[in-house]
Symmetry: C2
Subunit: 366 residues, 2 copies
């Protein structure tokens, strides 16, 4: 319920991050079509990079020598690094787990790489990210209960090993709650990880193809058992209504390719819902992608022009659409934070969902 929505501050060595916040991805220390400049201009407070992939290219040594991932990419706000565990949902990279850790295949040369808890911590400390994530064992969404239990066992052991290996006191270390969609396992995981004491807690195993009702069951059975004063991070979630709903369940932090991937496919986000820009009704539309948006794209270009760039497939158009969708996300998070501060989040949530779904709010969010 919306009573649990919270706002606060996460202190990192790169500065304060106001919560709740959304992180666009910077997998290889950049977005695909947009980079650090656009993220700065869009008001992004934090991005998330991928420690496993960065350890392959350009390699930790180079990033370490160049002053850490934030300095390397020219982004002066918070940079999270994902351990790579979430990549278990990408079949092209993931080749399995063992007691030792997660086994990957390099997308560059096919070489097998084992990410152990020690290695994951070492890589992230050397990358110098503001927030490091433990490595977790994420079972697929449709796994049998025994597999969830086994994965949970690894997840917990590895979380402890990560914590023990972690020495950089200026880098925050977040654990990741697993346990599938089972109330008991989730609670057990949240309570165990809390007992170890981390700087924040991811809720993992979500946004990997499970029904949303399962995802919310996982969230609802995790957040209440996590410490009030620590950030809760719902990993991989980025659809605007899911963010608004998850905030009402006490989540503070999100990341996803959702806004940028949809921008690639011409889906434009607005506070009146999303729309497909390629539709012919926008062919002569002089208006911006969204009225009242202050992003670079909306300040300088018409729907007709950005649509035209989509139809002729110029990458410059993908960038303009991504600039808008990412700015939409930061505007959404600003509104969420200010409505929480003003005590009107419940109202904001209802109005937002109403407008996003054009009055037909799915039962899930009610």
């Amino acid at each position: 319920m919306s009573g649990e929505a919270r706002t606060g501050v996460l202190r990192t060595r790169s500065g304060k991050v106001r919560t709740p916040f959304f992180m666009p991805v910077a997998t290889f220390a950049s977005g695909r079509s947009i980079g650090s400049e656009e993220y700065h201009a869009d008001g992004v407070q934090a991005v998330i990079s991928n420690a496993f992939l960065l350890s392959l290219r350009p390699g930790v040594e180079i990033i370490e020598e160049l002053g850490g991932v934030g300095k390397f990419m020219g982004f002066d706000r918070a940079v999270f690094s994902d351990s790579g565990g979430f990549q278990a949902s990408r079949k092209s990279l993931f080749s399995g787990t063992s007691r030792r850790g997660v086994h990957f295949r390099s997308p560059f040369d096919g070489k097998r790489v084992v990410m152990t808890p020690r290695r994951v911590v070492e890589v992230q400390e050397r990358l110098g990210s503001d927030v490091a994530m433990v490595i977790d064992d994420m079972a697929p969404a449709d796994a049998p209960r025994e597999q969830f239990m086994k994965s949970l066992h690894n997840t917990h052991r590895w979380a402890k090993e990560c914590k023990d290996a972690h020495t950089d006191s200026k880098q925050l270390l977040f654990a990741i709650v697993q346990g599938g969609y089972d109330a008991k396992l989730r609670r057990e995981s949240a309570e165990y990880l809390t007992s170890l004491g981390f700087d924040g807690y991811g809720v993992g195993g979500c946004a990997i193809g499970e029904p949303k009702v399962d995802m919310y069951r996982a969230v609802k059975n995790s957040t209440p058992f996590l410490p009030q004063e620590k950030v809760r991070y719902l990993m991989g979630v980025g659809s605007p209504p899911d963010i608004v709903h998850a905030v009402s369940l006490g989540v503070d932090c999100f990341d996803s390719i959702f806004p940028t991937r949809n921008a690639r496919h011409n889906m434009i986000f607005t506070f009146q819902g999303s729309y497909q820009l390629e539709k012919s009704r926008y062919a002569k539309d002089r208006g911006p992608l969204e009225e009242e948006c202050d992003c670079l794209t909306c300040q300088h270009h018409s729907r007709a022009y950005v649509r035209h760039l989509s139809l002729v497939n110029e990458v410059a158009g993908e960038r303009l659409r991504q600039v808008h969708n990412v700015r939409f996300m930061t505007r959404l998070m600003e509104r969420i934070r200010s409505s929480i501060t003003e005590g009107s989040f419940k109202k904001f949530r209802q109005e937002f969902l109403h407008d996003w779904f054009q009055g037909k709010i799915p039962k899930l969010y009610k």
Copy 2:
């Protein structure tokens, strides 16, 4: 010889363009990875769009309704439109010429389209470009003399038809000199077109695969027979040494995909010559792409970072490289103009070629 280098001003309805100048391409009213904002920031004075392709997408009607190509693309400086004649060098688009005009195939649906002189003028007037180009009949670089003569005949007749059809007194109309690489035909073409009286003159049939010695023969046999007070535009030429050399032959205007296409392939331009960024020697290089460059990329990013983005194939990196190369071109043109003003162009030319070729200046440029 460098005695003919000139500097001046081309007055367009979008404002003055200081000559000599270089135009990056905006074929579909945008670059591929960089657009109007980057062109503005890079100090680009003019871009060139393609009238034939824009007439297919988004169509002249839309651009006309949205206030013309400059307003449509959010570029507030000069926009040239090429008639499409230069596309005769692109086999995928070109299907031949007849007495009526140039026959194209649409890259979108394969439909045949004839661009007649009347149509070319109508399209460009409706696009509202600052400078329109006549349609010309460009023979391939290796055509026999009879074909050059026949093409010249069409080129001249079409130029007259374009001039007669052109009614927009605020839009400049440039003719295009043809005649292959034959001194007599070039002179004949330059003199005939001059007798008709245009606002400027393109030198066509260059940069289409001919040996450079032929290209310079074409230029040297065209510019002396064009009116002193009108702009001379060497179409399709964009390599820095060729620009510097052609300026010494009295050329004022250039366009090419050369800087942006090379940026795509990791070739970085500097006043010390070009280099391939993917080389391992740049892996840990903290310096900018070029010392003393004021472009966005050089102000914010290291060679190591931009190289990394190349190696992991992020489009955002292509944009950063293109921003630099285009800024290099505008810096080059600024230096050319100021050295002409100061009477030191001959010296500048020698030093530039010396540095670009690391002391080994090809005979062609001597």
